[in-house]
């Protein structure tokens, strides 16, 4: 039996373990490169050309170009690495985190000011909290679909 991964049953949450790390190695190393101002400028000038310098999969490049952080995370990205993309775009951590919920910036900010997301219903996959798969996307984006 391989080692347990007891963290697979939490909704809306990807644990960055060795398997994810291997999957996302080149994606995350690309992100690290954006810690240098010169690289940020080159990336902004021609995103596709800059991405093509890295041994990333085509899907990883598409996910970066789309700024879809959930997609990036599925492909092995880790938020602390991906944050370098947001920083390059001038985004805050709150904007980046909110972007993964489907909420608008204002909706997410209001949720945080009101005390943040509740853990109730969000501990285990299969409960009915707002982070569960069947309730995505959240906020106005989600309500549109159900109305």
């Amino acid at each position: 039996m391989a080692l347990d991964k007891p963290y697979k049953d939490i909704p809306g949450t990807t644990i960055f373990d060795a398997d994810q790390s291997r999957l996302g190695y080149h994606l995350n190393q690309f992100c690290m490169s954006l810690m240098k101002a010169g690289n940020r400028a080159r990336f902004k000038a021609d995103e596709r050309a800059y991405l093509d310098e890295w041994a990333m999969t085509e899907e990883q490049k598409q996910a970066v170009l789309a700024r879809d952080l959930n997609w990036c995370i599925r492909l092995g990205g880790n938020i602390y690495f991906l944050a370098k993309i947001g920083a390059t775009d001038g985004k805050s951590f709150q904007q980046m985190a909110g972007s993964m919920t489907g909420m608008s910036e204002e909706e997410y900010r209001n949720m945080m000011v009101a005390g943040g997301r509740s853990v109730e219903g969000n501990r285990v996959i299969g409960e009915d909290g707002d982070a569960q798969a069947h309730r995505q996307p959240q906020g106005r984006a989600g309500r549109k679909g159900s109305q």
Binding site: Y7, T14, A18, M35, N78, A83, G86, F93, M112, V119
Partner: protein, 305 residues
């Protein structure tokens, strides 16, 4: 064999002098290290209604540390994919350099003073705890990110130079497996023992940073758990050895994926060493506020009595 009385007194005097000549851990400070707090400070936004309650919570701490400035701070934090990429991930890394530059995390470096280290004490602690079976990585060149500089700003404000040397101690809480709470707590004990064996009369504070509940990723981003956080603070004060048994999965499930940073607080708490002598440390300050950006801000100051 009888020992003449004057010899005994002389020995006692020697022992007393020795204890006073040694370094000791005087207090521990615990605090979240949210990057947005640094950004608010650096861009002069701390007066805004959103930020006021956060900075107000640290006013007593700023007064406390003016009255209790240590000779050295041993600062436990985690690197956020800044100094350490995926090329190399140390579980525990101790900064032994003479200075550490504030890192460019993508927004440009924070406009804060360079961090001066304490190479002699750092090397001494490294030597001691490696011999105690902690497999540290020794680092002599490292930029330090918001995990280290935001706590300094919260306690010291915006001085032209930090008022004392800082030994950075970076813990991997980014790529799993991260060290267990028990491992962290025991490491704190080993650090206490190391400090007590350093033959200069230094007052050393140990800071544990990160947390409290927060999650920065996925549809569950924005999770906050006040009950968990308050219970964590209670137990950290009163029964840290039991708290150290909490498994990782509880942190992640209850306090969000980035709530795992709280294991670092157990290193600082383990170094208070109240089990081995003095009673429960005195709570000099306790503060809790939601939110700062995505995070629950928690803060505690414990003094050895």
């Amino acid at each position: 064999m009888a020992t003449p009385r004057h010899t005994v007194s002389r020995r006692a005097a020697l022992v007393a002098r020795e204890v006073n000549d040694m370094a000791r851990i005087t207090a521990s400070v615990y605090t979240s290290h949210v990057p947005a707090i640094g950004a608010a400070l650096d861009s002069g936004k701390c007066g805004e209604p959103y930020w006021q309650p956060v900075f107000k919570g640290y006013e007593p701490s700023q007064a406390w540390i003016r009255a209790n400035t240590p000779d050295v701070i041993f600062l436990v934090y985690n690197d956020h994919a800044t100094a350490f990429s995926l090329d190399l991930i140390p579980t525990f890394a101790i900064g032994c350099a003479a200075e550490f530059q504030p890192a460019d995390e993508g927004w440009g470096p924070r406009p804060v003073p360079v961090v001066k280290g304490h190479p002699e004490l750092a090397a001494h602690i490294a030597q001691s705890v490696i011999q105690d079976d902690f497999d540290l990585t020794i680092v002599n060149k490292m930029d330090v990110d918001h995990g280290l500089t935001v706590p300094l700003s919260l306690l010291f404000g915006q001085p032209a130079a930090w008022p004392c040397p800082v030994i950075p101690f970076a813990v991997n809480v980014v790529q799993y497996p991260v060290p267990s709470g028990r491992r962290c707590f025991n490491l704190g004990r080993a650090i206490r023992k190391a400090v007590a064996a350093f033959d200069q009369p230094l007052k050393v504070q140990i800071w544990g940073t990160g947390g409290m509940s927060h999650q920065l990723q996925g549809p569950r981003a924005g999770l906050i758990n006040r009950e968990f956080d308050q219970a964590f603070l209670d137990q950290l004060i009163a029964d840290p050895a039991a708290l150290a048994q909490k498994p990782h999965i509880d942190y992640v499930r209850e306090a969000g994926s980035e709530g795992i940073e709280l294991v670092m607080w157990l290193i600082a708490r383990g170094a208070m060493g109240d089990e081995s002598g003095p009673g429960t440390p005195r709570v000099a300050h306790r503060f809790y506020h939601v939110p700062a950006s995505n995070t629950a801000v928690g803060h505690l100051i414990l003094e050895n009595t």
